[in-house]
């Protein structure tokens, strides 16, 4: 029975293979490639806009952080200790262990995060910019 079914199936395949093949117009391939390129351009443009927005927002955030918290940072205990390493290096070297411990203790975590976030966004945008630049086949940048 399997042989009979295979024979019938083969016969049907032969019949279907004999059906006329319709040919698409010559322009169809060009049209498809063009629409892919158009979509690709749109996608690259959107990514470029996002990258520029990243640059702008990171710089704005950094300025905001410096203006708002810069003064407080310079008046902090951490900064006083840190500047000691420049003014009194001998003492700092002598009590190195205690000095590092004090630095860690007074480290302004929240303030540092506020400064680091915009820097982080800036580097992500920079990376994205260079990657887009390298894969930019349509010279948008």
């Amino acid at each position: 029975m399997i042989i009979v079914l295979n024979y019938m199936s083969q016969n049907l395949k032969n019949i279907f293979k004999k059906l006329d093949d319709y040919s698409p117009s010559h322009e169809l391939k060009v049209k498809i490639l063009q629409s892919i390129k158009t979509q690709e351009k749109k996608s690259i443009k959107a990514k470029i806009m996002l990258t520029y927005a990243g640059f702008a927002s990171s710089i704005a955030l950094l300025i905001f952080a410096v203006v708002s918290f810069g003064q407080a940072f310079l008046q902090s205990e951490f900064w006083s200790l840190l500047s000691l390493s420049a003014s009194d290096a001998g003492t700092v070297m002598k009590y190195g262990g205690d000095y590092i411990f004090s630095l860690m203790e007074t480290f302004p975590v929240m303030m540092s995060i506020l400064f680091l976030i915009p820097i982080f966004i800036f580097f992500i945008s920079l990376d994205s910019y260079f990657r887009l630049n390298n894969s930019n086949h349509y010279n948008h940048i």
């Binding site: 009979v4 199936s9 049907l12 279907f16 049209k31 498809i32």
Partner: protein, 193 residues
């Protein structure tokens, strides 16, 4: 011929920046996809538009393609969905499918090897008749027949393309063959009961 790069490899190469490979994929699949859509929808202009839509959808989702699977199955699934969506919009779906009384009684009384006996398949005008009746049979049957006999997909692959369980496809395939026989008999072939 053996040096031909696999479709899946072409996709990977394209995704890693080799743009020319998308054109190679287009060269391989444009005609089969166009023919499949043409026979599903029945219009040259529509087939061109839907083929374009199919390839654009495929390109947009290329990153989601699983290279462990067959590209041909994946792109035909997109073509089928695109065609069915178009027909749904045109309100040609739901299809008048297979659960008519006549069909059911046929299913019970006929053995597999007798569905399409040689007397039918060896007729000289059979290809023309098959082309003609393909337009008349329900779309789900048409899709299975075209994918299986014209595009050489297995029933398992067709199940994947149509998003249906294998057993459903197996039984629809059988019903599709019965439908062909009914159509051919209506068109004047000798009654083979």
């Amino acid at each position: 011929m053996e040096d031909r790069i696999s479709d899946e490899k072409l996709v990977q190469e394209y995704l890693s920046g080799e743009e020319k490979f998308v054109e190679e994929l287009l060269d391989r699949y444009l005609k089969p996809i166009y023919n499949f859509i043409f026979r599903m929808t029945g219009g040259r202009a529509v087939a061109e538009d839907l083929s374009q839509e199919t390839f654009l959808k495929a390109w947009k989702n290329l990153k989601r393609f699983d290279p462990e699977k067959k590209f041909s199955t994946w792109i035909f699934a997109i073509a089928k969905n695109t065609s069915f969506d178009y027909l749904k919009k045109k309100k040609e779906i739901p299809f008048s499918v297979f659960l008519d009384e006549e069909g059911e009684s046929w299913l019970e009384n006929i053995t597999d090897e007798n569905i399409l006996p040689d007397e039918i398949l060896e007729r000289k005008d059979i290809a023309a008749k098959v082309e003609e009746m393909l337009e008349k049979i329900p779309l789900h049957y048409r899709a299975i027949l075209l994918l299986h006999y014209k595009e050489d997909f297995s029933l398992h692959e067709i199940a994947e393309i149509l998003g249906e369980p294998y057993n459903t496809i197996k039984s629809r395939h059988r019903r599709a063959l019965i439908e062909i026989r009914k159509q051919l008999e209506r068109a004047g072939a000798p009654n083979l009961n």
